[in-house]
């Protein structure tokens, strides 16, 4: 199927700013779905609120645009009711890890089979450029005119500690790698997290003199390193990309099926 066939063209043009990384993520996501040959009717995309959350509406799947931070909770209700469906949850950094932080760690802990794609642009874009829990110390934002003093989360470490069984990171510069990682995350049975560094030239870029979209993507190229590459050494100070966790543990819906069988037997 051509990639355009996965889109709802009726609802274009999209709302994203010129240079926004989220369109690149959508592109990688659709290619992953296409490569896997998934039927549109077998996919449910659930999102919260923010620029990232608008991904769901543009894709011709079962799409559920929910409340800020709560996408994983809605997705849990859907998945437990129809375990045969593929659940994909595109999230923003604030959406996933500020207001939705509690739902995020508990979804990791349950190891329920779905894919959370954290589109990390280190800023609240839709509300006009406030700092997020992933902005990091020293970032300028409309709510941090003197720069932030807040430390950021490391999405990979947080997800790993919380129990996610597939954890990966990539950027919008590395589109082929992104497609492969998303494919693997969807195929993985269990809770998968893919963090994708995604540029927001409009708010993050301008405030922090990070340049335009091209400059920001070039920075992803220069400031990141693939796991196991020869310059993947602690002294490099670079952000690491690749698959950090990939392990097989009992999946939540499968386990609940066992609960049902025990109850039916009168155990």
């Amino acid at each position: 199927m051509a990639i355009q066939d996965y889109l709802r063209k009726r609802f274009f043009p999209h709302i994203w700013c010129p240079g926004c990384g989220h369109g690149v993520v959508l592109n990688g996501l659709l290619h992953a779905i296409e490569n896997l040959g998934l039927d549109k009717s077998d996919i449910v995309m659930v999102s919260g609120i923010g620029c990232s959350a608008r991904v769901t509406g543009y894709v011709d799947v079962h799409s559920l645009h929910t409340l800020h931070g709560r996408a994983l909770a809605f997705a849990t209700g859907v998945k437990m009711s129809r375990p045969g469906l593929s659940l994909i949850v595109p999230m923003g950094d604030g959406d996933a890890l500020a207001i939705g932080g509690n739902h995020f760690i508990h979804a990791c802990r349950r190891n329920i089979d779905m894919t959370a794609i954290v589109m990390n642009n280190r800023i609240y874009g839709m509300t006009g450029g406030q700092y997020s829990p992933l902005s990091g110390v020293g970032t300028k934002a409309t709510t941090a005119p003197y720069t932030t003093i807040d430390h950021d989360f490391d999405v990979v470490e947080l997800s790993t500690a919380a129990g996610a069984t597939f954890v990966a990171r990539t950027t919008t510069y590395h589109i082929q790698e992104m497609t492969t990682l998303i494919e693997k995350s969807i195929t993985h049975k269990g809770f998968s997290v893919v963090e994708i560094l995604s540029q927001c030239p409009t708010y993050f870029g301008r405030k922090n003199k990070a340049g335009d979209a091209v400059a920001m993507m070039e920075a992803y190229k220069n400031n990141t390193v693939r796991l196991g590459a020869k310059d993947d050494v602690p002294e490099s100070g670079k952000i690491r990309r690749g698959i950090f966790v990939e392990k097989s543990l009992p999946e939540y819906c499968d386990e609940y099926e066992k609960t049902i069988q025990a109850a039916e037997k009168g155990a």
Binding site: S41, D60, H65, A73, S81
Partner: protein
Amino acid sequence: MSETTAFIQGNEVCGRAALYAGVAFFAGYPITPSTEIAEFMAAELPKNRGTFIQMEDEIASLCAVIGASLTGRKAMTATSGPGFSLMQEALGYAVMAEIPCVIADVQRGGPSTGLPTHVMQGDVMQARWGTHGDHAIVAMTASTNQDLFEVTVTAFNIAETYRTPVILLMDEVIGHTREKVTIPAPGAIEVTERLRTAVKQGVDYHPYLPREDGRLPMSDFGDVHRYNVTGLFHDMWGFPSGAPRVVHGLLRHLADKINNNVHEMARYKEFYLEDADLVLVSYGSSARSALHLVENRRRRGERYGLLELQTLWPFPHAVVREKCARARYIAVVEMNLGQLIKEVREAVDRPERVYLVNRVDGVFITPTDIRNMMRVIQGRGV
């Protein structure tokens, strides 16, 4: 199967009635005095291939319920005041996206953590207006375990018929009172299933295009029709829209589908109202004491009567107006500082006849409490 009897508490009655109504999904978080509903569901749902999940908080609980309901399953949660507060945002989502679900709020004393194991009825207005924005809502209650069974089934029926959240506004006394209840035989009480679309696969499907009667035949999420669901104002495809005509049309539809059917949803009971001079209006566990007093005073020849409301929202103004028309005194018996009384005053002629009879110290209001306050109202001293 025929009917059975049981001696059980109200929370379990709620659970058994939900199963009778066909509930297949429960998500919740422990909170007194509602926890027994979750415990019952955890044990019983998997026996019928239903799903129970204990979520990380009440916010997630209602969100999961909404997700499950979208796939076509009857779904519910249960909580008490603090948890009900946390659910308000998702409650509004269910209103906006027209997702059937039942939320049992077993009321305790508030505000805040309040009185977890004592009774009050302070969430009446929260049920009505707790979520932000203009909207209509359905809230129901009952005073006995037998009534609670039927009202719970009705709550599911209304939720499915009108694609709306329905609040089952129980209280601590109802939740924890053990009394005999007859569980009706299957089929004895009508159980309503939601409308599904007849539109075939491949035809342009409009999930949010209501029929002329306001009802919405929706396709189950995950079936052949792929559509968008959002909490934003949306067009007939479910896609976000800020067009004034779309916004106005949707807001009116959401309010009208409830408010135009008040007569269909109004459930109430009346006792000795034909010639009543003193009409007590009450609901939930307070109505137990009100009825006790009415029967007691009737034996002494005093013309007491009781109007017990089971549907609180949408408020049945016409019913209250008619039933109170001839009363000299109207006393609203509730365990709060006066919440439903405002609606009663608005419903009746000569609202100066309407008095509040209440108790707000966490102690269950007794027939004697009501009697003493009625003496004051009648100018007969304390």
